[in-house]
């Protein structure tokens, strides 16, 4: 059985000219000279093995950018006036040069917002961050309780994250974030997440689960139900002003009212990803050869990839064809998330698999049974069992520490 890859949107024979004036969103469809929001994953290494990891992280890649190469990328971002980057991984703080690169970026007017599971944020690091301007921290948490969180992120990960949050709060860090991927299991905890976040004086950020990386393996089981999507939409309308979303729920706008933020797919237009080995992809959720635009090590560096790659040029035009353009809600959701469609085996010019009008469900049901959803060949998952690994998939958990289980267990 061969995997049939849904093709990228066909590039128009003549690329349409950028309109003058009009709405910002229409301008963004034609791309920018430099990204607004660049995600840079510094390493594929991670101490955790979250079941839904978008980058299938775990083991370091021997080809990862060296310190000097990473500094070169920062120099280039400064020249291009990319004012801040979202740094992630893997777990970025396990790179021995992470703290050096953080300072280097800030010294070069490239602000850093980094995502971490909190493993390295002890009291000393928290104090250091609190004293540093122009850095933002996001602690990942996928359950408002240890029970819900640890099933997907691994035993002990809730404790690690909340310890880091305590340290940051105690150090007087301002504006740090708690970053949540909304799943079927935590969708009912939004108010609890808000309360937990408030208790640390932090800000809540919630984003959408994508079937990317290992997320593809658990998407059927974890993506929110239609009813949960409706509740989430209503919750965002009521609370959206005080909650960050990374603009990732724009597909929910087709329920009626536009949500705050940019309601369009920014892939290759206003966002992109630099992965640990320097490969540039259209978006953080699209680590697949079909969305690979080039490498920062290539001649001309990142700037040339961003400004001249054929892939990005193809992505920088409005969608004109396909079933969605005929839908009354197209202007609200713009067909949804490219990566979500791609990794569920749906055509890119058709509905999002979570289309709130229900077209996604019928499209999923109508998929050719011979057709296999494309899978990324880039996988850095741990090859053996991981301490405290998640139990969602039914594997027995290895205790995070031996003392986590009663020393008398089994002896009675």
């Amino acid at each position: 059985m061969t995997a049939v890859l849904p093709s990228r949107p066909a590039a128009p024979a003549v690329r349409p000219d950028r309109p003058v004036g009009g709405r910002l969103i229409d301008q963004f469809e034609y791309g920018l000279d430099a990204p607004i929001c660049l995600t840079w994953e510094l390493t594929y290494a991670c101490n955790l093995a979250c079941v839904h990891c978008l980058s299938s992280s775990g083991r370091r890649d021997p080809r990862e950018l060296s310190t000097a190469e990473a500094e070169g990328v920062i120099d280039e971002l400064q020249r291009m006036q990319v004012f801040y980057v979202n740094v992630g991984g893997g777990e970025p703080t396990v790179r021995p040069d992470f703290w050096h690169l953080l300072d280097y970026a800030i010294d070069h007017q490239v602000g850093v917002k980094f995502s971490t599971n909190g493993i390295k944020l002890d009291k000393a690091r928290a104090a250091q961050l609190a004293a540093t301007d122009y850095v933002d921290v996001q602690i990942s948490l996928d359950g408002a309780t240890a029970e819900v969180n640890d099933r997907v992120r691994g035993a002990g990960s809730f404790a690690t994250a909340t310890r880091a949050l305590e340290n940051l709060a105690e150090a007087g860090m301002k504006d740090f974030k708690v970053s949540v991927v909304v799943t079927r299991e935590n969708a009912g905890q939004l108010d609890a997440f808000k309360a937990l976040t408030d208790s640390f004086g932090a800000q809540l950020r919630i984003t959408r689960l994508r079937p990317s990386g290992r997320g593809a393996d658990v998407w059927d089981q974890l993506h929110p139900t239609q009813a949960q999507q409706r509740d989430l939409y209503n919750w965002l309308l009521a609370n959206g002003d005080n909650v960050l979303t990374g603009d990732s729920f724009f597909h929910l706008s087709a329920f009626g009212e536009a949500l705050p933020g940019l309601n369009l797919c920014g892939a290759g237009r206003v966002v992109c990803l630099i992965d640990p080995v320097g490969d540039v992809y259209a978006c953080p959720f699209a680590i697949h050869e079909n969305f690979l635009a080039g490498n920062v090590r290539d001649e001309g560096g990142f700037q040339r990839v961003w400004q001249q790659s054929e892939l990005f040029a193809d992505l920088r035009s409005p969608q004109t064809g396909g079933a969605c353009t005929k839908c009354a809600h197209f202007d609200a959701c713009r067909g949804g998330c490219m990566a979500a469609k791609f990794f569920t085996g749906l055509p890119l010019d058709g509905p999002d698999p979570e289309c709130v009008q229900g077209y996604g469900e019928s499209a999923l049901a109508a998929r050719d049974s011979e057709r296999v959803a494309p899978k990324s060949h880039i996988d850095h998952s741990h090859s053996g069992p991981v301490r405290g690994q998640p139990t969602l998939l039914g594997f027995p958990s290895i205790p995070a520490k031996l003392c986590d289980e009663s020393p008398l267990a089994g002896m009675a």
Binding site: G21, G22, L24, Q27, Q81, F83, Y84
Partner: protein, 107 residues
């Protein structure tokens, strides 16, 4: 530039009075990145991001520091009369998000 709102201010919570009879300038902690449609404006202090949706508005923001008032700037940049209210509103939005700041005229 025909839009009634030339600047899309992503976030603006701090209210500040905007008087177009006074002298203004691009805030010192603000950088402007040219874009095909205008510019992206970034404030290093409050990390707010705004967009200037026309090249003429970019010229206006850059020219503010050379003129004694907003009105004088708009005239010098040859902003058509009919569009000036929209430009004043856009600059008021930029003032609210601290992208432009008051400039004291030499006594």
């Amino acid at each position: 530039m025909t839009s009634a709102e030339p600047a899309a201010v992503i976030r603006d919570e701090s209210a500040g009075a905007f008087d177009p009879d006074l002298a203004w300038q691009r805030a010192r902690s603000v950088a402007m990145r040219p874009e095909p449609f205008g510019a992206l404006v970034y404030h290093f202090g409050n990390r707010k991001l705004s967009f200037l949706k026309s090249k003429l508005l970019v010229s206006v923001v850059e020219a503010l520091e050379q003129h004694p008032s907003v009105h004088a700037t708009l005239a010098a940049c040859e902003v058509p009369e009919a569009q000036r209210p929209a430009y004043v509103k856009a600059l008021a939005d930029l003032a609210r998000s601290q992208m432009i700041e008051r400039r004291e005229l030499p006594a």
